[in-house]
Amino acid sequence: MEMLEDPETGKKQRKGRRCLSRAANIDKAGPPPSLPSSGAHHKSPEKEGGASPKHQWKREWAGSRLGAGGGACPAGPMRTRGGGRLLGREGRRMADAALFEFLHTEMVAELWAQDPDPGPGGQKMSLSVLEGMGFRVGQALGERLPRETLAFREELDVLKFLCKDVWAAVFQKQMDSLRTNHQGTYVLQDHSFPLLIRMASGLQYLEEAPKFLAFTCGLLRGTLSTLGIKSLVTASVAALPACKFQVVIQRS
């Protein structure tokens, strides 16, 4: 950057501020690459458990969206300095989110492409591999994320932590609602799940959706396990991109 001297006042000014709109490229990221069609029937989205009329479902918490969600472009020009930062903090956060989405998509595609067995047994293996990966990641996340204070007095606190902090850290938004029947079953609802949002908005690709949720189920299970709760997490999709995660606490 050259310093120009203003002839009148003698003050120096920087020449040439370059303006870049943040996240311009990330915003235009297209839909994920098409997956090789496996030709077999995927399991239909799992039935929602716990919806029996006997249990009283209580709406524990309806979260509010954190931040701008994917795709908002903050106003204002960006300054570049020499060879310095091209994206500010906002842009870097969006870059992280995009990287994770792409990596996740590739992971799923890779696991499915290699599977020669079109029968239901082979797919279950891949789903459980994905879930296992998510589990290990969740374990590490459960150790790193919680704050400096002992925040969890009871299970509900842990679930709220999942909905707010973990979701915000991984997906840059909070879970939309948390319901429980107070008997060990929790349903976490996300109206626009970031990993599904770029696929479709309705019923298209409904059969393909479960494999994109396996990693996240494992993530939830792993985080819960580090925080001392054994659970079983399943996911279901009624219409993209909304999905529900059901957490059933296993008491031994």
């Binding site: 374990q139 590490a140 459960g142 204070t149 580090t226 001392g228």
Partner: protein, 144 residues
Amino acid sequence: MGWILVTSAAVILFLQNYPLYIRSVPTENELKFHYMVHTSLDVVDEKISAMGKALVDQRELYLGLLYPTEDYKVYGYVTNSKVKFVMVVDSSNTALRDNEIRSMFRKLHNSYTDVMCNPFYTPGDRIQSRAFDGMVTSMMIQVC
């Protein structure tokens, strides 16, 4: 769950009341430290349950002095994932202040978090990370 003991003499890390990591300097009195630490686990559990009943929102991870014996002082710390850190310090070492102990525990906690994030480490195993060893050694050298 896990417990870590650090003493001016030893460091032990506990998970579910079995040790994840034990380190002591000097190494002769290890058995005595094991015994001391097992008794201190009860005190840790007591403190955690006492805190649980407290209405205060800010419950600290640092538990403070668990109990003083004639030769040693025992300090405790617990993480959100129920891993207990126990530190046994020589009583003659009067120069150690509370905030120094706190900072040592914080360093331990950070290193433990790094160990958890290591893909070659399976949670629940004994800790064999050289980086962790190095951090503990440097900490104990400072103290002794």
